[in-house]
């Protein structure tokens, strides 16, 4: 099978299937799927206003998508992005509230450290349990999502609660406010209310960083080797505990950094449920992006458009509620993740048959090596 079929054609067919089923759902509800699609595309990318939200969501999904993707390379399924991002939010909030920051250039590096450390710490326990005690990381990270939720509710109605009715921390100092798209590029038409902020650039840097890590460093090589075959990796002198821990710490840190965008960049305080499911979207993003940073970036952009377009869709077509986004997300996970072989098996068969036919015709003895 040629490489382009594997990395481009199959994911695109899967995506097309997911969208086709989504359109059937819209049709069944009694609305026009093409009209709905037009509203979504226009709402997401048809104006600077739309882009301001689309790229904001994209930023969240890049971080959580990279988190899942890095873990996938070691064949670990980190389903705990939601909890790790929530704890990252706690880390960011503690850093931002700790001192009256004079300027965001000082606050940002400190907040990155805070978010990454807390996110990584929340991933560390399941990772250690997987590495040393053999507890299944999927189950432990799910459990840690719920524990994180309970912990944050406890903190936000108790010790961290600001004076006021709502369960949230005090607003961060002005010096910790990140430059928004309006501050940086007002000539592009971004409004002051657009949530897009400088974290988007940070997310792009993270993509490049993950690419370097996975394909250009010794650790990345070890992670991939471990993911391909644990016995072979052990035979080559790679220590499983170290790889599982390192991978999950990086994964948790990436998920935690999402809070830079959502907590520090947008809300400027820590509220209950600051993650809003982005941790789970990361799974869909990583699956669609084939765990490659470029793929993750494109998939995150697609889901960013989906989220912003979906919000507009709910506004324009009240019959279609916001949950349509979750349905599309579920179908993308289903077709690109779970039902991947449904598309892959026939295509593989087609290429195998073609290769055999060529061999029989005596034309391509060299093709067999393909």
């Amino acid at each position: 099978m040629p490489k382009w079929v594997d990395v481009a054609l199959i994911p695109l067919i899967n995506l097309a299937l997911a969208l086709a089923v989504s359109m059937l759902v819209i049709l069944w509800i009694g609305e026009s799927p093409f009209e709905a699609l037009a509203i979504m595309v226009k709402g997401a990318v048809g104006s600077a206003y739309g882009w301001g939200y689309t790229l904001y969501y994209t930023t969240n999904f890049i971080f959580t998508g990279l988190a899942v993707a890095v873990a996938f390379h070691a064949r670990l399924f980190n389903i705990g992005g939601e909890g790790q991002a929530a704890l990252g939010g706690l880390g960011v909030a503690l850093v931002c509230l700790a001192v009256p920051w004079p300027h965001w250039t000082l606050a940002l590096p400190a907040a990155i450290v805070g978010g990454a450390l807390f996110g990584a710490a929340w991933a560390a326990i399941p990772a250690w349990l997987q590495a040393r005690r053999g507890s299944h990381i999927v189950i432990t990270t799910i459990m840690f999502n719920f524990i994180a939720q309970a912990l944050l509710v406890y903190l936000l109605v108790g010790p961290l609660k600001a004076s006021g009715m709502s369960p949230e921390t005090a607003p961060f100092p002005d010096g910790a406010a990140l430059p928004t798209a309006h501050d940086i590029a007002p000539w592009l038409g971004f409004r002051p209310s657009a949530p897009l902020n400088i974290s988007f650039l940070l997310a792009l840097v993270a993509c490049a960083g993950v690419w370097l890590l996975i394909w250009r460093t010794r650790l990345g090589y070890e992670i991939r080797a471990f993911g391909h075959s644990e016995p072979a990796a052990v035979y080559a002198g790679i220590h499983p505990t170290w790889i599982i821990m390192a991978t999950m710490l990086i994964s948790g840190a990436l998920a935690g950094c999402m809070a830079i965008n959502s907590v520090m960049g947008e809300a400027e305080r820590l509220v209950i449920n600051s993650v809003q499911g982005a941790g789970f979207v990361g799974i869909a993003v990583a699956l669609m992006g084939r765990s490659h940073p470029v793929g993750v970036l494109l998939a995150a952009l697609l889901f960013g458009m989906l989220y912003q377009g979906g919000a507009e869709l709910e506004f324009e077509m009240p019959a279609i509620s916001r949950e349509m986004i979750i349905v599309i997300q579920a179908l993308v996970i289903l077709f690109t993740g779970a039902l991947d072989n449904m598309v892959r098996m026939p295509i593989e068969k087609f290429y195998d048959a073609r290769r055999l036919a060529r061999q029989r015709n005596g034309r391509g003895t060299g093709v067999a090596a393909e």
Binding site: E323, I326, I333, G337, L339, N341
Partner: protein, 321 residues
């Protein structure tokens, strides 16, 4: 805490344990056959919606129950298709099913009833009525046993008793029938089952569909027994608590009953006492809510006994050629 309060808490714990128990037994069938299922939550949610919707439309709770079970089994079928037929990742398939249910239920509810993603309130025959067991009036005056029988054991809806009966039934099916032996074998060593001429695919599909059916009962109880309509995300993580209970019970039916009752008890305590004080230390209610998850992690870590899942769990079976 006096005796009457204790009885009320036990009564409430039994109600709250019922959906957990049904979902836990559902997971037991699936995972014993080697199919991991983190989609219990989604199947329950789908069943909750369809049972409430059809109970409202038809006015009969039993027709609602049937609709709920069918919806749950359709999702189970998708899980089977993905993880058995197409040998996909069972965990990813489970995640997809959870989202599919979370989205579709609200979407359809809004489309059918236009009440902000919920179903209209159910009344009369559209809800499960409480059943008073025989002799509960006569036995009531007997000290200790009487109140326990008449207040805790008697007076629940049919599904509570079905759930309790499902425990010995599950035990019998899994450990005393040929089907059960084969089902457990397929979760430990599918190649051996295949060699003896029994269809691995067939057995696994059977297990997944039983799982769907039981999740259907659990979801229907949520919407038509425990409450009187469907609301958005009403399963509220119960599918995952059931999964936790399954691990806690180490994939055994009777232990599942114990684990689910324990988690039901925790929830009942949390509902009753918003501020619980143990030995002079205030215990936050969030700690009570997190306790099932914490306990599961501790059990999984193997510090208190070791939970060993069925050996072939999670791995698709590829027939030898």
């Amino acid at each position: 805490m006096d005796f009457a309060t204790l009885l009320q808490i036990l009564d409430s714990a039994l109600r709250l344990a019922t959906p957990l128990l049904l979902a836990c037994l559902a997971g037991l069938f699936s995972e014993r056959a080697g199919i991991f299922d983190i989609g219990l939550e989604g199947k329950m949610l789908a069943a909750a919606f369809f049972s409430a919707a059809y109970a409202y439309i038809t006015g009969s709770v039993w027709l609602g129950l049937a609709a709920g079970c069918i919806a749950s089994m359709v999702l189970a079928g998708i899980h089977g298709l993905a993880s058995i037929t197409f040998r996909g990742n069972q965990l990813i398939s489970g995640v997809a099913i959870n989202f599919l249910a979370a989205g579709l239920t609200v979407l359809i509810a809004q489309n059918w009833f236009e009440q902000g993603g919920r179903t209209p309130a159910l009344e009369g025959a559209a809800r499960f009525q409480n059943i008073t067991l025989p002799f509960s009036e006569t036995l009531a005056p007997v000290p200790v046993i009487g109140p326990i029988y008449s207040q805790v054991i008697s007076g629940h809806s049919a599904l509570v008793y079905i759930a309790l009966l499902a425990v010995p039934a599950t035990w019998y099916i899994l450990f005393r029938t040929r089907f059960g032996l084969r089902l457990r074998a397929v979760g430990e060593n599918p190649a051996a089952v295949d060699t003896s001429g029994v269809s691995v695919t067939g057995l696994r599909f059977a297990a997944v569909l039983i799982c769907g059916f039981l999740c259907g009962l659990a979801g229907a109880y949520l919407a038509t027994g425990l409450s009187a309509n469907f609301v958005k995300d009403m399963s509220a993580g119960r599918g995952f608590i059931a999964l936790a209970a399954l691990i806690f019970a180490k994939w055994r039916p009777w232990h599942a009953l114990g684990a689910c009752f324990l988690f039901g008890l925790l929830e009942a305590f949390g509902n009753r006492f918003q501020n619980l004080s143990v030995l002079g230390v205030d215990v936050p209610v969030q700690l009570m809510q997190a306790l099932p998850y914490v306990l599961t992690v501790v059990i999984l870590a193997g510090f208190v006994g070791k939970a060993i899942p069925p050996r072939a769990g999670g791995a698709p079976y590829v027939k030898e050629r």
